[in-house]
Symmetry: C5
């Protein structure tokens, strides 16, 4: 996620960081070079005059804009739903930690190291890290080991789905407390709804990560957008002459740019600049839950690196 | 579902897999042939000059694009809601299995074969398979027999609605545990909310499968799109001459293509390339739940076949 | 609801069943006759040449298309929300029946005629039928009598709101079971959430049935669409001559057609071809719930009549 | 809310009731008179020819239509959410009454005057009336006195927020029943979720009533629409001459009309014809809940007055 | 939030308060000055005639309008979701206070100063204030000290996340009451769902505050809008001559204005005129909850300052 205050209108115009320009540079360049060639040849293609006129472009352009708008909305909805699911992870973790610490039959021990409940909370922190690593295809082992020790990390690595393994661990701890009479059945059930809520958030993230927008859309829009922009010079050259490359550049920047932004944010769990700052969110959860345990040696919040929070 | 990484711009342009082209090939071809004929006859139809000019097309085209956009959004919403419902099946199954294993009065037995609770979890796995087969009109019998044995499979086949039969089976098992004092009433009620959640997801899938987008929309849009594309040559031929077939091809590709993609994804439970990978999801559930039971002989995740996951 | 597989492109083009054509036939015919008259009089109205040119139509047409699109989306949302509410009725009924049969302190009796719980489930079936009749303004008496006997039918008829009366009946039965110690308070509360869920679905259906889209929208769009289509010949006649009636027909078909489809589905509980198949849904509920009671003499699912399920 | 069956196409065209025309009459008239003046002066303004041509209008018109469409959707969403919240009030009230009557430890007394539970239900009816009066800035006192007697009405009037005061009253009654052992804690908690649901619906209505669509939108769209319509004659006069006033009238009717409808329904709790029929809804609740208490002397449903239900 | 009744059409046209004009004044002025220069030079740029014609602008303008519409919808959705979350804070607080006061085993003490439960309610009021200060980056200390005394304020300041600290305080109080037998476990769990609801609302607000709309959108739209408006004079000057600056002003006002409104409301927690009135909402909560405690010395509702409620 790009962390930047909106600069004034002029500086915004020339901002580079966070721009989608690098991703579409080559397409834009090809398109503009072609348009320049067309402008200088006055629309002749091998001795044959290509007279497209602007009419076909206004017919196609409208449909293209509406369909790009549709895909863009779909991509942004995925991005925002993903963020919302991580918001669920945040507040479910906090509420689970709060209820575990306050609603058991015995008050929480002053020293977390003495208290079996602290393990429940630490497994919840581990869950957030494990979900992040799962979505980013990285190794959650070191984070789990740091939080829960080498034994739990080994069992974690052996499980087919680490997040689910940790939630089962939380459930097991809860069940033991229930059978030991440390917690009322009703309170245990209430706490377990938060565990189920974490499972739901994890399944939601998996759903977004594993189910793309149907590929046929990407193909259809990509092709129409490219045909449109590469033919546009032939439609404009008789009307605006040497200004053709410039107008084609602006049009292509808008269409390719929106295509590329949508393409980037539709898979929002990665490490690109416009993706969600999962690591910063996990750090926040870690700080909140360790503090709920009464620990005082808390890690600092994650700071953006070169204006980007990952 | 098509499993493919987005290739670069150029290769994407010529990709065939996942394209909607095969479905609309004949309509596109007819349209282009007609446009070619119109171009060569200079818009004459049996000695009669048809002068449509582009104006009517910009009047109709706008409405058409907006209404195609509407139908497309409706189709995609069905697709995504269906996926979300299967996401519910995933996390409800997992949470049910977790709670059954952890929150009973006695800890889960180390050997699943000894434990009555394992039957509950296996019925839940069976439910996911049964729902998939119901939505795809295939026979769930073999999957049920594999998971629950021949007796339960026979009862399953006799039921009018297999999914509901299995959920009642889960409920019956839960009721027996409740009456035997193995589980607190509050915990049983909490577990049963997941059974109700599975019933809700199944009813949601039935709803999408049995209630199409009103047929009048399909008719209206299909007719307008075809009239539009088949008349378009007469509107363009005086303006762009021999380029008419090419422009008509691009316009028809966009309109027919979006019509066809929307048509495919609006019934998302089938076996076409852009449909949901229900079998892979069921396999995931099976792996997760068997692992929750402590089994170690887990089936592998389903791999895509020729780039398509079904 | 129209039950039809999508035919191929050509046959779809000439399909009549499910078309909105009959509803808009007279408006279309008037419009086309007028356009023909304008074409033959070359746009003269009583010796006065009406030169509208296409420009005003592209100005108005855009706004019209966007606003028709808005109303269409609103109408479809009502249709789909109504279907979703009936989906709630389906799964709430099933879950209520399941919990009543499985989670009481005593197992369900093998013979439903002996079991007081069967009355609860039959009242729930009656509720679905009563809601259907309420929304369609028909008499639910015979259905209630068939399911619950003459006494309950008499009390049902005397109630001001039959659906609510039946839900109170379910609640009363539940309360008696609770006071008789047949069911744990926690389980009774869980079952009652399904009764509340049915009440919510009923209130939602009432809301859709009793609150139309604000009438001012209907007026505004209807008027603009008619003015647009009836004036359109004057705008096109100088450009495309004798083809005017044909183009006007296509434009009017699109605009009037969408207006009419939206108008039909915005009140989705009726008996028109594009309305929801409430009777078929009620039959499904009846089959599922009777089977849950262990009855074996089940009615068959409702079959479509001339391609339409009501 | 306007209660009217959709008349046929012709009569709909000339319908006056429910039309937005009276609200925009003066703007429309001014606009048309100006257009007539422009048509007769051939676009001269004090010897200076104003040649705007239609081009700027197609550039601005598109943006205007899209943004009006946005605001319209936002306004309609507020209207529909408000209706949905009142639907919540309806079914929460009914479910609360049902549970209070059926799930207590002792069956409901046959005579409501003898039963302390009747007070709970009557306070719930009072809540609906109080919410309506709060949203419409009218005095709820008489309704409360009629339902709950002079003493409760006095305390109600003294409270800073009447609806909340009544819900606290329901909660207090419930707490007394709980402490007297008349109701199980679990059932009391379930009933209280409905009280919380009513509080949520009330807060939702307050939110809609107190938070307008940001005023800057209203300003921006209003200004652009007026500039557009008042300048339009100068753009059309050279093209269509004396037909200018007529076309301007149609365009202005569409834009001003949609602006005015959106403006009316965005604050849906008032007494204008297109507002929600809160009084009729409150009456429905009163009938349902009194009947649930077993009373037989029920008020009749509210009838529309001159086609409008308030 | 701007508190203003909609004036009549004419006065609305010249309203200044609540207008977005001041924010976009310099961009608008530059644009208009440039357009005037172009009009007087007849589109010559250093002896070189720039003939853009309106065609490129209708091609780009459409896409621009659709994409601005998309961003605007996204911004408004953030604004409205933020308001909805604060509505949740309102009704959760009220329900928590109601349940704490009514559903404990002992009735509430007449004097709040004597009652430990009053502390729970006061911490809830403090939570609302703390959330507001957190979102506005201001110091919550004085408000907390006023409500909860110096000791709690010191602990609050030491916590890494004040809101979470206060909710943990509410949970601790609840846990003590539970262990002291003052409240049934089931009721405590019900009350704690409101605490979790407040945590969810806080996490939702944090999500909106910390996750902007992807920066690439802002860049893309800002750039296209500026290029469009600054080039527009060259496209119009040959058509409408000296009227160019005026038309450019209207177009730029619409595009820049919508860009600026969207930009303002997309971060809705600030102190700008169109932002949410968090202070007024917190005051409402304070009044409601103190009254629920039975206090009579209530602060007055916040009044708008110069027409703006903050």
């Amino acid at each position: 996620m790009i962390v930047v205050d909106r600069p004034n209108a002029l500086r915004l115009f020339f901002a580079l960081r966070g721009s989608i320009l690098p991703r579409i540079f080559w397409s834009l360049a090809t398109c503009t070079v072609l348009a320049t060639a067309v402008a200088f040849s006055h629309g002749m293609l091998f001795q044959w005059k290509v007279t497209l006129t602007p009419v076909p472009f206004s017919l196609i352009g409208l449909a293209l804009a509406i369909f790009l708008g549709f895909r863009n909305t779909a991509a942004y909805d995925r991005y925002w739903e993903a963020r919302r699911l991580w918001g669920d992870v945040v507040h479910r973790s906090r509420s689970l930690a709060r209820e575990v610490q306050t609603l058991f039959q015995t008050p929480a021990a002053p020293d977390p190291a003495d208290d079996a409940r602290a393990v429940l909370v630490r497994r919840t922190i581990g869950f957030a890290h494990a979900l992040r690593h799962q979505l980013r295809d990285s190794d959650a082992g070191p984070d789990i080991e740091r939080l829960l020790g080498a034994d739990e990390a080994r069992a974690f690595r052996a499980a087919s789905l680490g997040t689910e393994h940790l939630l089962r661990g939380v459930g097991r701890g809860l069940g033991e407390a229930l059978r030991a009479g440390q917690v009322d059945a009703r309170i245990a059930a209430e706490i377990d709804t938060h565990v189920s809520g974490l499972a739901a958030a994890a399944a939601g993230c998996e759903r977004i990560a594993s189910t793309p927008i149907p590929f046929a859309y990407t193909l259809l829009l990509h092709r129409t957008a490219y045909v449109y922009c590469f033919l546009l010079p032939f439609g404009l050259v008789d009307l605006i002459g040497y200004l053709t490359p410039f107008v084609v550049l602006v049009v292509a920047y808008t269409f390719f740019g929106l295509d590329a932004v949508g393409d980037e944010i539709k898979d929002p769990f990665g490490l690109k600049p416009n993706h969600l700052p999962l690591e910063a969110i996990c750090r926040t959860i870690e700080i909140n839950l360790l503090e709920a345990l009464g620990e005082t040696d808390l890690p600092p919040p994650l700071a953006p690196l070169a204006g980007v929070l990952r």
